[in-house]
Amino acid sequence: MNTLNTIAILLIAYLAVFLESYFRGLRNLVGAQIDLLPALMVYAGLSAGISTVALLATLGGLWFDSLSANPLGITVLPLLVIGLIVHSGRDLILREQRYAQFMLGLAASAAAPLFSVLALLGLGAEPLLGWWSLWQWLVMTLGGAAATPFCFHVFDRFKRAFTYQKLQETSFRPDREIKRDRGPHLDYE
């Protein structure tokens, strides 16, 4: 299942980057495009191994940069940092809770663009920034946060569809069954 889960995560990342580039309805409507990779990274950090986190950060980041004017590799770093933080704290996080998923998605989606822009500025690039970038950041943060529980829902369904279900254990034990039949009885008569 681990390999299948990793492949599914990478496939969804590939599709997410394509959709972010192809569909411009949301960008025309609210002035910003939502990035789904941080939400996916939160899922990978909580549900997969460190190798999957590293693969998602590398491939997801490179795919994103290949369709963007970003220098190649700049998006990998924020994703890796998010993945490592979530993965290291996975034992303390209630991954089943929608609220926890939302909050993690919120933090990841807020941090990823900030980190990317800082890295770009550090490299001497001149991204298009202004007051309205705050609005774009807000849209990205809320959009990413809303996408995170959805991401968990989709992958949980995928897991249920492709893995053997755990057999439900009942309290019934044949050796402790109370048999209520008629014999053998002692004949007192």
């Binding site: 590939y14 394509f18 192809y22 411009r24 290949s66 190649l72 590799g73 890796l80 309205w132």
Partner: protein, 272 residues
Amino acid sequence: MLKRQYSIATGLVLLIVLVLLNLPEQPAARTKLALGGLFLPLFGIAGSVQHLTQQIGNSLVPRSTLLKQLERLRKENEELRQQLMQIQDAWRENAQLRQALGWQRRVPWSLQPARVVGQDPANWWRTMWIDVGSRDLIRPNMSVLTSEGLVGRIDKVGPYRSSVVLVGDPNCRFSAQVQEPRDKSVVAKGIIWPSASTLDRLLVDLTFVPGGSLLKPGQTVMTGGDGVIFPKGILVGQIVDVRTNDYGLNLEARVKLAVNLNRLEYVWVLLQ
């Protein structure tokens, strides 16, 4: 054990990032195009689905509407033919006069149509992808336009697709001239600069206009032709408002772009 795994994974990813960020320009662009090429099948499928949807939509249009449209297009075609005849006369006359004065002869534009296939997924750049590349004779820095005006310039070129830096991106600054709409006289010159103050993607700034120039809302802004990328006289947009900068030394105007960059489907690449 887990710490070791963390170190190995982080080290490997950091190594890849460092190598990629330190690649020279050409190999980096090639790697980027190769990676972006992985999305070609998806862009192809999406394009086919869109085409199919359009075809289905077209087949549902009533015959009477199509006939009306045909009639309108016939009329428009006739008018354009007449205009073309007049322009050809003017063109010949212009060529003769240029020859008489010893000026360089103007070459008619050669245009390559292209379909917009994708946009930049990052919010801090204004670039897009079109479905023509080096096999269609596309080269970096060629102008991209529509019948309404300037769109941008070609940036990276792959065999089957190219990226276009749109007007308003920090990497697409160019000289422009302001014309009076009535007599086409040049009022002032300036630099088109991305606007950092508005959410509207269709507004850019015209900066470094000398103070005292007679800028007014409604004046048209055309490419100045002073650089090596854009030829002179392509419509950029219209002035919306004007303000003074640097204690009146310079003027700055906001320009509404003539082309709606949010709804681009097809563009033309100027093959020169």
